[in-house]
């Protein structure tokens, strides 16, 4: 029996388009170096549109009946569209940056597309080997992308650290998977769930060790706290749009995998891993937000802020209920939009000034009021102020944690959220209160102005009228718990 290959059309589009972009770049050496990025953005858009066609499809991809290695459902569709959207914005903000600072624009854009492809496969994988190889695809793309500015020592350092720790975490993850396979005798999520629900008592230790390794491996990928050491360096060293991508695509895909794996395959053993993830979540959000207080570099600040956000998102994984799922998906979308807005602003500023220190933002409100205003929007959203996207998404997350019996964790999250407000306000103070060091206004390029405007509108939209997206997230999450 042949599997339904038509389920993977968005993936085909991305793969073929990536090859196309490289080919165009090779065949036309005279091409301006921002063209491949725009071309690739078109591809990501096409893949996103193709993904939309799969709304309400609920079908497994199985070559042999019973071995479902991938599953296309609303959860997949939601994440596919989100990842493609992120890729479009990343590529748009990359175009000018690449033209100014990087060589080999074709390869760069193609690898961004392939990374998105890897993320999509991570989302839909329902079999350990498939999910793992997809995770590897994403990781390899990022190893390359992070060190793409190969003339900058910082980028090299970031790439090296990211790759070494990434390889190490992959080994941990794989060892955990092999333990689970040894205990359950199958690699499909359904099979694992079935095996776990009628296991004997003697399996507990192996299961717990397996979970520890898997959580450690995934913890590296999402940058949860004991495993976050590479994050600030990687964020600071990577080319700026790639930093944005690290904080969005990588996190969204890894969390999608995390959540699907733990709520479909490992749900019968919920008691075994709940406390681990809850503990990591608490440590992550406190640590990330506290260390962020001391940062002077904008990118390192965002690195620690993203670590804090990871802590919030881990609440949903620990809770592992349908509400938690929908709030996780919703928060991921809100976080992606907000972070993309913030990073587009930083890209504009960096293209212009070549600096990403917080101190250099001084007086941005005078020099470029639009950027400053957009930045304030993004930061308020990240901090979780009402009216902005972040408030509602975080609120949903905390409530779902509370409902799932993790009251203390939601309490910690509120405290951490309050702490985060402080350092976001410090950035705003820098922009609005301190006088500019360099006088003179500057303009935002039209395209990036448009991108920022769209994203800011998105932040407000999600904050004021969240119902449509929340409904979508709820439908998507329902698919994981349909059994």
């Amino acid at each position: 029996m042949n599997p339904d290959y038509s389920l993977l059309i968005p993936e085909y589009i991305l793969a073929v388009w990536a090859a196309l972009v490289v080919a165009v770049d090779v065949m036309m050496p005279k091409l301006r170096r921002d063209v491949p990025a725009y071309l690739a953005a078109l591809g990501a858009l096409a893949a996103g549109i193709a993904s939309v066609l799969y709304i309400d499809v609920n079908k497994g991809f199985e070559a042999i009946p019973g071995v479902t290695i991938m599953h296309v459902d609303d959860y997949t569709t939601y994440m596919r569209v989100l990842l493609c959207g992120i890729a479009v914005f990343i590529l748009l903000m990359s175009a000018q940056f690449v033209r100014m600072r990087l060589s080999h624009a074709g390869e760069y854009s193609a690898i961004v597309l392939v990374a998105t492809l890897g993320g999509m496969l991570m989302v839909e994988g329902t079999e350990l080997i498939t999910s793992w190889i997809a995770l590897e695809l994403l990781s390899f793309c990022f190893y390359t992308l992070v060190s793409f500015a190969r003339r900058e020592l910082r980028s090299n350092e970031a790439g090296l650290k990211y790759m070494l720790l990434g390889a190490f975490s992959t080994a941990l993850f794989l060892y955990g998977l092999s333990l689970i396979y040894g205990v359950t005798g199958t690699t499909t999520y359904d099979g694992i769930a079935a095996a776990l629900s009628n296991r004997g008592e003697d399996l507990t230790l192996a299961l717990v060790v397996g979970f520890v390794f898997i959580i450690a491996g995934l913890g590296f990928k999402v940058a949860a706290v004991p495993f976050h050491m590479y994050t600030p360096d990687a964020y600071q060293g990577a080319p700026l749009p790639i930093t944005a991508m690290l904080s969005t695509t990588s996190k969204a895909a890894a969390f999608a995998l995390f959540f699907r794996l733990f709520t479909t395959a490992f749900l019968p053993a919920h008691e075994e891993w709940k406390w681990m993830i809850a503990l990591i979540a608490a440590v992550t959000m406190m640590w990330g937000n506290l260390v962020a207080l001391q940062q002077t570099n904008l990118r390192r600040l965002f690195a620690y802020s993203s670590i804090g956000q990871v802590g919030f998102m881990l609440i949903a994984v620990a809770a592992a209920t349908q509400d938690a799922g929908s709030s996780l998906l919703f928060h991921m979308a809100g976080y992606a939009v907000t972070n993309l807005a913030a990073f587009t602003i930083i890209v504009v500023f960096f293209n212009r000034e070549g600096s990403d220190e917080i101190a250099d933002l001084a007086g941005l409100a005078e020099r470029q009021p639009f950027l400053a205003l957009a930045m304030v929007t993004a930061l308020f959203s990240l901090a979780g102020m009402p009216l902005f996207a972040g408030f509602f998404t975080k609120f949903m997350l905390f409530v779902s944690g509370w409902d799932a019996g993790l009251e203390w964790l939601s309490g910690v999250a509120v405290v951490a959220s309050l702490i985060s407000l402080y350092y976001y306000l410090m950035v705003i103070r820098q922009m609005y209160v301190i006088a500019p060091r360099v006088p003179g206004r500057f303009r935002t390029p039209a395209l990036l102005w448009g991108v920022i405007a769209v994203l800011v509108v998105g932040v407000f939209f999600l904050g004021i009228w969240p119902a449509p997206l929340l409904d979508a997230a709820d439908t998507a999450a329902a698919f994981l718990f349909r059994a």
Binding site: I64, P65, V67, I111, R150, T186
Partner: protein, 191 residues
């Protein structure tokens, strides 16, 4: 621990030497010796695969690790200056590392000995096209003769795991592009 068969004798022989070589990797003062010990460990692992009737896997292990990875390690060692890397590389964290290592070993040994692992289902009782095909160690064809693991791996790779297999080629492609981009000369760079 009781010894029942020749296979077990061979296994313990392989295992002891492999672990000894692994210790050699860690404790050797000379990085080249470490690398050579690593090769020994990896090739003995291939021997364990043979005991599991996974000849294909064992030979791939020899090919990839004995012939590929070890050579890369050697190249890397040779290109970085070997003479500077002599001497122990451990620091003040040594006691902590020892404690942590011993703890992990204890937990793993406990886990391995306590757990009742899944056994391979006898091949005869297994339908040809079923989910449990994946967990085969040795498969029998309906003629009753042993199906080699080469056939089994080939079958699985091109039916059940066709898509991951293709994704693996994408991974390699990205790694290749990235490696070439990062490593090649800079004559075309615009400063």
């Amino acid at each position: 621990m009781q010894i029942h068969s020749t296979e077990q004798v061979v296994f313990y022989l392989l295992a002891v030497v492999a672990v000894a070589a692994a210790l050699g990797v860690v404790f050797a003062q000379d990085i080249i010796h470490s690398a050579l010990f690593l090769v020994v460990t990896l090739i003995l692992t291939a021997g364990v695969y043979v005991l599991l009737s996974a000849e294909f896997l064992s030979l791939v292990q020899v090919l990839v690790y004995g012939g590929g990875v070890s050579i890369l390690v050697m190249f890397a060692v040779m290109i970085t200056r070997v003479r500077d890397a002599r001497g122990p590389l451990d620091g003040a964290q040594k006691p902590i590392a020892i404690v942590a290592g011993l703890a992990i070993v204890t937990v793993l040994v406990l886990m391995i000995s306590r757990t009742e692992w899944q056994q391979a289902i006898p091949a005869v009782n297994r339908p040809d096209e079923s989910p449990v095909r994946v967990q085969r160690v040795i498969t029998q064809t309906d003629k009753g003769q042993l199906m080699s693991d080469t056939d089994a791996i080939g079958h699985d790779l091109f039916t059940t795991f066709a898509v991951p297999f293709e994704v693996a080629s994408l991974v390699l492609l990205v790694a290749l592009v990235g490696a070439i981009y990062l490593a090649r000369g800079e004559e075309d760079e615009v400063t």
